[in-house]
Amino acid sequence: MIPLATYALRLGDDALVLTQRLSEWSSRAPELEEDVALTNIGLDLLGQARVLLSYAGELEGEGRTEDDLAYLRDEREFTNVQLVEQPNGDFGVTIARQLLFSVYQLLVYGDLRASSDPTLAAVAGKAVKEVAYHVDHAEQWTRRLGDGTEESHDRMQAGIDAMWPFVAELFESDDLVAELAAAGVAVDPASVQAEWDRRVDAVLADATLTRPTPTWRARGGRSGVHSEHMGFLLAEMQHLHRSHPGATW
């Protein structure tokens, strides 16, 4: 794949894999309003994923569709960060994952609106409005849970603690991104880290939560190295499609 296609695929894989996790909440949310909200966020992300995967396929020029890329790649070919593939856990874990990822995605898409690639700029322009809502949703719940009851405070802190090892990977750069960023096409994630820290720290403080001290850190998602959870996620997502090779749905 050409670098731009790989970059579009990374953004798309993040969105697709998080959709898959969020859709697992369907009919299981703490209240009906949250069932609607979590599905809504998942649908926004799925919309982003479909455009980005289709674009990656077009750029590649080998006739691969969004479905070919979603259903027929193996685990080592998926380029999402490990944060988005982490299991839902309780609602606190899910909100922690949403907070950490949505703020990151908001900042990346925000800068990507200025991309010299018109398609990426257009995707970012639409997505940034959606993700602003996702951030608002995650920030509000982080405050409610962090500053709610003793139990919710403990669960929210545990969620943040559990997801924290997956934060550093969000801001890792490599030659591919660095070159595309230098050409004004991509956003170097390292460039949004300071703003991410400021924004997340503010919410954590407001929610009476503590920023965890770094321990081990996950790495490798962008080059297809994933956590053990990823294989099961893909097995579930892909099995029906793969059971009927060549069929139209």
Partner: protein, 314 residues
């Protein structure tokens, strides 16, 4: 005004085919009937999320995944409108959910059947949503205003779901031999339960007569079932699928399709709780509610703290 005069006004409103609104006087039996019916409908929407939600993570294309997620989300939305409509009758969502969770109120028995293949998503859309629309369109003219207005929006969305289900089955039917067999199998399993969705035959229906008088019900169970059969047979032909009833035939004198005997013993058994998924659906629902208790408590505690802080600041 004394009760006789109030009753007279109420009867006049019903007779004129006008709407009863939340602040209007209404007989207690009318209120209780509506609460029971609207609650059962709301419960059916949220329990109905389970059999379809079962396939979201496995949807075989991204387009179908988006459609299914949006559909299940609509069902949660329908649950919300309907619980709100019930609240105008003086009963809270919490009370109604508690009755559902403790088995004191029902949901539609159709959701006690399992969704075992992807084609079930099509059969549910085409047949189950199709039957629901037959039942629900007349409710858009129901005598109770908030229920009638909720039903107008719900019916629009349901008819969209029905077309999506039909299109899903059509794609399978025109697909590979395995896909076509999957579609036929799903229709075989969902046809008879869909006919049962209209309720027991008119001769055995317990609530019908009074509900007709009150303008809550407009057509009898058997009338609606016949309309559904008449609409479905030609659609099955377009799909290239057969309906699992050897006695199905067109009667040119009546202009209607005749159909075979419905197994009402199965209907009664599942209604009484003895179906393939009754226990599973309830356990899933109660677990979601129980697991979410700490979240709802946190939201309430946070709102109280904020209110206290604002008061302290004022």
């Amino acid at each position: 005004m004394d009760e006789t005069a109030l009753q007279r006004d109420f009867d006049a409103t019903i007779d004129a085919d006008d709407r009863i609104e939340p602040r209007d006087w209404m007989p207690d039996a009318y209120r209780q009937t509506l609460i029971r019916q609207i609650a059962q409908h709301a419960h059916s929407e949220i329990i109905g999320m389970q059999p379809e939600g079962n396939w979201i993570t496995r949807a075989p294309s991204l387009k179908r995944k988006a459609i299914l997620m949006a559909k299940v989300q609509d069902e949660a939305g329908h649950g919300l409108y309907l619980y709100s409509a019930a609240e105008t009758l003086g009963v809270s969502r919490d009370e109604l959910l508690d009755k559902l969770h403790t088995g004191r109120q029902r949901y539609s028995s159709i959701f006690n059947y399992p969704t075992i293949t992807w084609a079930d998503m099509g059969a549910i859309g085409w047949l189950v949503d199709g039957a629901a629309i037959m039942n629900q369109v007349p409710l858009c003219r129901c005598s109770y205003g908030p229920y009638a207005r909720a039903m107008i929006r719900i019916c629009k969305e349901e008819s969209f779901h029905q077309r999506q289900g039909f299109e899903l089955l059509l794609t399978l039917s025109n697909g590979t031999a395995e896909q076509k067999a999957m579609a036929q199998d799903a229709v075989n399993r969902w046809w008879w339960p869909s006919l049962m969705m209209f309720g027991p035959p008119d001769s055995e229906s317990t609530h019908s007569e009074q509900s007709m008088r009150w303008g809550i019900k407009r057509f009898s169970n058997d009338e609606l079932r016949q309309r559904f059969v008449d609409a479905s047979v030609p659609q099955a032909e377009i799909l290239g699928l057969t309906l699992p009833d050897p006695q199905l035939r067109f009667n040119s004198e009546t202009g209607h399709y005749e159909y075979g005997d419905i197994d009402w013993s199965e209907f009664k058994r599942i209604l009484a709780g003895d179906g393939p998924c009754n226990a599973q659906r309830m356990a899933h629902r109660v677990k979601a509610h129980t697991d979410g208790a700490w979240v709802r408590e946190a939201a309430a505690a946070y709102a109280d703290k904020r209110a206290a802080r604002e008061e302290g600041a004022a």
